[in-house]
Symmetry: C2
Subunit: 205 residues, 2 copies
Amino acid sequence: MPSALILIANGTEEMEFTIPYDTLVRAGIDCTSAFVPSESEVGLAYAGGWGINDVTVTCSRGVRIVADTTLEALLAEPTPKVYDIVIVPGGAKGAETLSQSVQVQRLITDQYSAGKLVGMICAGSLAAKTSKLPSQPLTSHPSVKKDLESSFEYKEDSVVVSGSLITSRGPGTAFPFAFKIVELLCGEAKVKEVRSPMIFPAGVF
Amino acid sequence: MPSALILIANGTEEMEFTIPYDTLVRAGIDCTSAFVPSESEVGLAYAGGWGINDVTVTCSRGVRIVADTTLEALLAEPTPKVYDIVIVPGGAKGAETLSQSVQVQRLITDQYSAGKLVGMICAGSLAAKTSKLPSQPLTSHPSVKKDLESSFEYKEDSVVVSGSLITSRGPGTAFPFAFKIVELLCGEAKVKEVRSPMIFPAGVF
């Protein structure tokens, strides 16, 4: 069973987290969400061990989501699991936390160097820059285009696949982003199988 | 500021909850999510008062969402607030809990009788039947069509507006469902304003 690690922070865009998570689970991909604290939150969650309150994130529009674990806990395991894909959702504040985290940067660099997939959507694409991925085709939410266009071959397609880096634009492209990941991990037949019961209007996605 | 009450239960489809909640908040609608326990859960959450653990729902594909409050708490207020729309998401198990809840049935009956909007998506449309709404045009996820077609004028459009009842089909129609609600509560100009930064592919929704 393929596996996915989906990062989440306070301020993550809840649709850009939930649509990939849910769609990948429908495809039979084992999904794990991992909370990443902002610099000012580091240490707070660990003062007394961590529980449900510590991994509860308030997303960009107020939906509160409980992460499955923390990135720190995953990395502290004797042999940290290598996932088939690591996904960075957007949401301005959440993407800032994720892209500025040294742990996230190291995770992405390791994942990318190992030839494993990395997915970034919306402002989450900022993590490609902070992780110093090589210049290549990439997209993002238009609001962070200026931060990325000098370091990458900036595109405006809904989903851009460049080797093992998959990037996308916003909540409106979250479904095609998720379907592309399913296609890469499980094949095109699985995309059709997953998409059908979701009942998209004719001709959409 | 218009207001929306979005119901949630264990087994609710997380995309059908999150997409309307997030999109309505983007439109400036004040959203409140309220947990509804299943029959076997009733009483458990209240044994010692309720806290974050009691209102944490495990959705249909494993995303855990913390509701803003409980329906019981809202109804226990001296003068329960009347929302501009009450929304029932799908997800087989969640929709069963919501549609079978006597409190939900009463809420929907009162909301509908007062001429206020009621939104139902996917298997959430079962609540139209259990709340004994009058026969009228309606849609749902195809999996529950057989339960609804003898009581309603069953349609297969992505979104069906029948007076104050708005119904829709599945995760793939959750965006147009949310946009229709924004249009009805805030006008068409607001839909355009909200949709633009979501970056849908050209021609989609």
